[in-house]
Symmetry: C2
Subunit: 340 residues, 2 copies
Amino acid sequence: MKRNATIVDIAAHLGITPSAVSKAFSDHPRISAETKAKVVQAAIQLGYVPNGMATGLRKGRSGLIGVVVPGINYSFFSTAIKGIEEQVTVRGYNVLIVQSRDSFEVEKNQLQNLLRAQVEGIIASIAINTKNYTAFKEVAGRVPLVLFDRTFARSGLSEVTIDDFQAAVVAVEHLISMGYKRIAHIAGLSHMRPFSKRIEGYKYALNKHGIPGQQEYIIECAPNSNEGEFATEQLLNLNQPPDAIFAASDYLAYGALQIALKNGYRVPDDLGLVGFSNEEFSGQITPSISTIEQYSERLGSTAANLLIDQLTFEKKGKKYPAHKIVITPKLIIRQSSLRI
Amino acid sequence: MKRNATIVDIAAHLGITPSAVSKAFSDHPRISAETKAKVVQAAIQLGYVPNGMATGLRKGRSGLIGVVVPGINYSFFSTAIKGIEEQVTVRGYNVLIVQSRDSFEVEKNQLQNLLRAQVEGIIASIAINTKNYTAFKEVAGRVPLVLFDRTFARSGLSEVTIDDFQAAVVAVEHLISMGYKRIAHIAGLSHMRPFSKRIEGYKYALNKHGIPGQQEYIIECAPNSNEGEFATEQLLNLNQPPDAIFAASDYLAYGALQIALKNGYRVPDDLGLVGFSNEEFSGQITPSISTIEQYSERLGSTAANLLIDQLTFEKKGKKYPAHKIVITPKLIIRQSSLRI
DNA sequence: CTATTTTGGTCAAACGTTTGAACAAACGTT
DNA sequence: AACGTTTGTTCAAACGTTTGACCAAAATAG
C-alpha cells in the first residue's frame, strides 16, 4: 500500500507552498491559471486523492449522513435506503449505514458510533423494542434528525411516514365495496406506530360504514407468514368466521392465504384478502394478493431531502422547525380481493 | 445545534491540559486513577463525543470500510451487506455503502468517493457493464480490496464467491436424476462471472452424463422474469422443446413458470424447473421453485473478515497475498422439479 | 517617476486529537 | 544529604487541509 500523496507532496513537486495548491484546487481567484493547470497535472500524476478527514476536520463537516434501520435486508428498508443513498449522493454526501437489529441497546450504540464518525445528520427508523425517544431526542440536540416509517407517537421530531391510517381505510373500504361483510384484521404489533395506525384505520372504516367491530376479529402478531397462518386458523375457527381479512403485511396475508386454501376456502370468492407493502412476491403468486404500495424508495429520498434541507438551513444559523411529511400510499387491487 | 464539547473543554473544565485528558481516555499508565475518574465524569457531564475525524487524521485510520454494490435493494446484495455490516461492526469498523447502479461510470466515481472518505478497505461487487479491472486494480494499490460474487476472470484480486460451476452441476444432475432428458438453460449475461460459470457447469453436467448439448437450448438474457418469459417462449417453440429448464435466477425461473403454465404444461410433470438464488418468493409460490441457496449473508461476512484480516496484516507491514474463497452453495429441492 | 492598485503568491494559525519528550515534585536509597 | 527513580503531568509537534492576513513584484495611474 503506497502512502497517499498529499497537498504537501504536490507543493514540493512544483516548488510552491501547500496553501497555493489548496487554493488552486478550490479555484481561488488569486492563483494564476497556469499554476492551477500545473497543480491538477501534478495531482493526477501523483495520484492525489484529497484526505476527507483533514478537510472535514478543518471545515467542520464530514459529508456523512448516518442511517439507522432495524435490518438492511428487509426489502422495505433496503429500497428506502436505495432512495436515501441516491438522493444523498446527488447532494454531495455519503451514507453511513448501521443496523439496530431491532434491539434498543444496539441502536443506542450505533447512534453513538454515528456521532463519533461526525455524521452531519441522521435518518432513522426505530427498533421494534425501543419504547421511549430520549436517546433520539439527545441525538437531535446534536445533529439534525429525521425519522421515517417507524416513528414515535408525539416526539416533536421531524419525520416522514406513509399515511397508514388512510391506507387501512382504503383497503377496508375496498373490501366492503366488494361485498364482504365480516372483515377481520391481522395486525402487526400495535405498539409500533405504523401498525397502530392501520388498526385505527381499520376500525374507522368499519365504523364509518356501520359495520360493528368485533374484538375477536383483530389479532395482533409479529408480521411474518407463520404468525399469519396461526392467526388465520384462529379466525377461521370462530363461530362466525370472517369473509375477508385485511392483513397488516403481505407476509401475514401470505400465511392467511395458505391456511385458507388448505381449509378449502376459495380466494377471493369465500374469503377476500388484502395485504400491505407490495412485496416482490405478492404480485407473483396465485392468486395474486391485493396490497398497499408504500412507495418506500420515495419515502427514503424524501427523508433524505428533508434532512439535508434542515442541515443547510441550520448551517446558516436559522432554526428549522420539525417537519412531518406524510406520503399517501396506493391500493393495488389484485386477484385476492376481486370478486365479481 | 450545540457545539460539540472537545477534549479542550474538558481540560479547561478540570484545570488540566488536553493531553492529560487524552491520555486519561486511553487509560495511560502515567495518569492517576483520580484524574481518570474526574475526566470521565466531566466527559459525560459535558456530553463529550470524540471527534472521529480528528482521531482518524491523527492516527491515520478512519475506521471506515467501503462497500460498493450495484444496488442495495436487490435481495442478494442487501443480505450480503447485512453480513458485512455485522461482521465489520464486531471488528470495530463502520461501513460506508455506495451503489454503482450497475453503471461503470458511477462505480468509478463512487470508488473515488470512498477513497476520499479515507476508507481503510473496500468490499465490492462489480457493475454489470464494467469490462476491465483497471479501476479496481488502481484502488487495490491504495487500500485492501475484496471482491465478492461478481468478480473478474483473472484479476489477481482477493475475492469471495460461491461455486457457481458446482451449483450448476448439482442442479442439472438433479434434473437428470429426476428423469428429464432434454434440459435447457436460461442463462444470465455470460460476460458476468457467476453466469458464465453456471453455463460451464450446465454444459459439464450434460457432457458427463452423455447428454448431447444443443446450442438452441442455451439462451442468454438479463436475469428478470420478463426476459425469462421471452426465453421460455422461444424454447417451447422449438421443434424439440426441452422437458426441463435450469434457470440462472429465480426471476428467470418464475418467468419460465408463467409461460409454461400458460401453455398448458404441467410443472414438474411436463417441464422440470430449477432456479437460482433462493429468493424470498420462490419457496412461497405454487408450485414452489427448486433453487440454489447461495448463503449470501455468509458470503458478506466472509468477505468482511477476509478484508479486515488483510487490513490488520498489512498494517504490520506484512504482505498479504490475494485470497480466493469459494463457498459451496446448496440445492434446495422443491415442487418444480420433483416428479415421482 | 513616484504612488497606488493588481497579481500571485507565502505565512501562520486553526480544526481536535495523539504521543514522545521533557520536567517538577515526591519518594526511596545509600 | 546527595542522588536515582517513580509519579503525574505539561509541552510541542504532528496528521492534511483551509483561509485570512500579509507581502513582494508587476502593472497601472497621475
